[in-house]
Structures are given as C-alpha cells and as structure tokens.
Amino acid sequence: MRTTLSSFAPTLATALMALCGVASAAPQAPAAQGLTVVRDAETGELRAPTATELRALRASAATTTGEAPAQPQAVTGTRGESSAVLGERGLVYGVVKRGADGKLDHHCVDGAHTAARILDQSAPAAQGASRHDHH
C-alpha cells in the first residue's frame, strides 16, 4: 500500500464502509480507537488504521454523529506543503428558528454545538446571532 499523503485517500471510502460494517451493531456510536479497522485499498484486507487514516475517519465520523470534532493536526505532504483536515470543524451551520410570534429567524453559526444551543433556546432569537425574518 502506498503511504504518502496524496495516496491515502483512495482508502477512505473503503475505510468508511468497513467502519460501518464493523460498527453495525451500534451505528450511532462514535468509532472507538482499537475497534476501528480499515480495508486496505490494495490488498482488501482489514487492518488497523494508520494515524493519518484514523484522524480522517474521526473527522468524517464527527459530521454524522454530532461528536465534537477532533482537533485538527498539521501534516506535511509530498510537495512540502502543510495541510490539516478540518472535518466538521470547518462547517458553518445554517439554522432557522420559529419565534413565539410565528416568524422565522435565521442564524448562520459555527459548529454543531452552537447550532444546537440556538435550537434549545426558548427565546425567538439568540442574542448576538443574526436575526433576519424569513418573510
């Protein structure tokens, strides 16, 4: 198997599929280290993930489980560039909230937790967040 950064990703899709298969008994549970396997793109065998693969898996899994995103790590690529997978950390969330008067307020915020906090608020608008009526 190729181990350079640029050649890792072909394994990601298959790794995720393998992850789903392994975790099928508890599909909502975050992937725990030690229980995670990836399918090698070249051999087809299941094996433990490399550190880079594990980071990518966690970042991807966080987008579907609501798990807090992993802190990104900088890695050096084959051309000398630095890169960091943000996964869910890079997402900007659009949220809509219907106020007591029936009107809609829009918010555009960073992170799943901020979005969830807006939804949990009983007030029609979160202080500090933008408030635009939908109509």
């Binding site: 890792f8 599929m17 997402l91 969330y93 915020v109």
Partner: protein, 493 residues
Amino acid sequence: MTIIERHAGFAAGACPGRLGHLARIAAIALLAVAAFATIGGARAATIHIINENAPGVGFNDPTPALPVGGNPGTTLGEQRLHAFRFAADVWASHLVSTVPIRIGAAFLPLDCNASGAVLGAAGAYQVVANFPAAPINGTWYPTALAGKLAGVDFAAPGDPHIIARFNSRLGLFADCVPGLTFYLGLDRKAGSQIDLVATLLHEIAHGLGFQTFTDDGTGAFLLGRPSIWDFNLVDNRRERLWVMMTETERVASATTWRGLSWNGWHVTRSTPSVLSPASVLTIGGENAGAAAGEYAVGDASFGPAIRNAPVSAQLMPVVDQLNGNGLACSPLSATNALAVRGNIALVDRGSCDYVVKARNVQAAGALGMIVADSAAGEVAGMPGLDASIAIPSARITRADGWALKLALQNRSFNRSGVVARLQSDPVRLAGTDARRRMLMYTPGVNAPGSSVSHFTTEATRNLLMEPSINSDLRYVLMPPRDLTLPLLWDLGW
C-alpha cells in the same frame, strides 16, 4: 458538472454494510473518469458532487414528487440532486480552476425540533499552507483555492474539498418544524418555504473560502497560522489588519459593531455599483431630549427606497397592546389612526409580516413607518413585497426603540414634539464604512461562525453572504447584484 454516486454510508443509521467490492471499485472508478475528463477542458471550473447518501435516503429518496419550479425530478431525491446540481453549476460557471472541485454532499437527519432546525452546514474539508505558488506563505488556504492557485489537487484522491450536509427531515416530520420545507424549485419562488438553491449557493461559498479558520471567539489562529481571509480584514477604527493584531485585539474587533471592514480591492471597488446610499434616521424636535441624534436603520424591501422618498414628520407611536406596544397587525383604531395621520408611525416588530404593518399605517394616513425590533441585536432589514405600499419604512434596534418611546411619553393625540427624518446619507453606502469598504458582520456579542465570516446585515441591497438567507435574493454572485464573487477574487480565486 458530474454527479458521482459514492455510497459511503453517510446516512445516519444507514451504513450500507454489504456493498460489494465491485460496487466500491466502480464508485472510485467513476470519480477518476470524471476528474480525468475535465482536466484541460473548459475554462470554467468543474464541480463534482459526491453523493454520499446510502440507497433509499437523501439524494436517493424514492418518494414520488411532482416537478416544481423548473426542477424536473420526479422523486424527492432527484429533486434534491437537481437543485444541488443547479447551485453547483452557478458556482462552476464563475470560477476558474484546472483542479475539479469535489463537494461531498448528503441529506441527513440533522438537529431539529418543532420550532427550529439546522437547515444545513458546509465548509472547507481541509486547509493547506506553504504550497508551491502560495501567494502568502505560512497562511491557510481552503484546499479548493490552494488547488486552483497551484494547479495541483492537494486533497487525497476521493476526498472532498468541501463537505455539505442538509437536513433530510425538515418539515417532513412532526418533530422537525412541520410545514416548513425546502423549496426545491429553481425559479426563486420559495414563498414562505426555505429556498434550497439560495441556501446551497450560500453554503458552497463558505466551502470555497468565504470563512476564516481563525477562532473569532478567542482570536487564536488555527495551528498558529492565519487564514488568507484574515489578510483582508481591517479594524476600521485603528486601520490595522487582523493579521497584525493580538488575539485580544482580534476578539475586540470581532465584537465591535461597524468596526471591521473588508480591505480587499475587488470588493471595495464594487461597492458603489452594488450598494445603495445608507439610510439614516435623524431625531430632533423640542421634545426629543436625550433621544435626539442619528440612528442606524435597516431598509425595507417593500415600498419606496428612502433615498427616493425622504420624509420628515412628527413621530407618533401606535399603541394596540396592553403592555403599551403597537403591532399594527390589523386596521388601526380611530385613536391610533388620528395619531399617525400625517405623521411617521412607530410600531413594534412581531405577530405579522412587515408589509401588513405598513399597509395598516398607510391606510390610516401615515407618511412613513419605523419598526422597533422586539429582540436584542443590531439593525437588520425588513423583507417583504407589496406593490401597494407607497410610504418609506425603516427598522431600528430594540434599544433604540425604547429610547424613542421614552421621548414620546409626553404627547397629545396627534403631536409628540419629536420629529423624525428618514433620508439617505450623502457619503456612506448601506453596509460600508466611511471609506466605502464593506463592513463585516460583527455583533456586540460574538456569534461563532457568524461574526467575521459574513457581510453586515446593514447591506442594501441584500447580499447572498449576509448571515441569513433573504427572500429577495437572486441567484447572482457578482456586481451589480452581489459582492460574493469579488470577495472570492480578493482571496485569490
């Protein structure tokens, strides 16, 4: 643009589990062919949508649907895919890159309850620094932009440059804002529904780079490096670039209303062709007292523009609630009609659309309408359409509304001694600083992800990259309608 089917099992609780080797190989092969076919092709960028939904859900939802608003899909999944493709095509036609842009997309059950929902989320999947041909070293670029600048795809094959998730349950279940659904038409006729195409255009922009990777709550750079975004931000009170400031200074500027401007050349040169003169409310008169002065206002999408219909008259409140507020959601009583006739009506936000309030005070003879917000925050505009409305309207903050009501306490049936003047600023544009640089959204209380990474809500006309999707947006990204594309040009697109 190419639709790539990659069933990676991203639907919550719906891992495909038993996809065979052949299917996996075919999915990866499809991706490779699509990318190869576009390299060296047309000048415009190519955007691949990677369908990450499992069979039967999301983009693959087989629920029958009637074609709507130019969307020819006959299932819910097909219509979602058509809308996504439409939005991606709009973006692809405006970007130039030899590296195809991959958007990993899925409709998933995102957070929601009976009164609110996460509509969707998007952003850059990866950032890159110190790459060959990087305009500024030691600086994070979203991976799609880095690829365009270097002519090299820094994402691993199959990895997305942008990830995008949208709520598959919105309006379709009793516990997910029942009745409020995505409008899947392509004709901007969403009405009271959520325009999916406009939402997609906004979210894809974030993924292309319309965001900072610096923490706007702490001021800390991501892994010690600034984002290319940060080089274009300037604290307009001190004329200092964000990248030159301390973390504490960045936090302060991110929470100073009207304190942070976009310094990029493309946006600044385009503001006069996109934005209208700023509207301003001036309060004076013998009873104005401490309320005298200038107030920031949000413009209305209905009625005449204030620059075309300036007005000056006594300010009189509508009072139709037990707490002293005035909603003006129904025809005014004789007392309220007497108060506002020939004057400017002050009403409160809430309970009905702004155009309803405007119709009612206009019918009573008001010359203009000022709406005081019902929630804390900064000024914002008032959406709505009604060709019958002939009086100008403006929206002020709740705090400013309270100040005006205080000054209006000593009044007769039809006179207050408080004079309101609605007119346009001869210099400032609606949404810019005094140098006509675009203001960024910086509410007094930090709104993570909303602050700094959006245009101000004061912009008139409404812009795609304000913190919310306004109903009067067109699917246009560039002047004279919008400033989104000039901002991406400033980043290097």
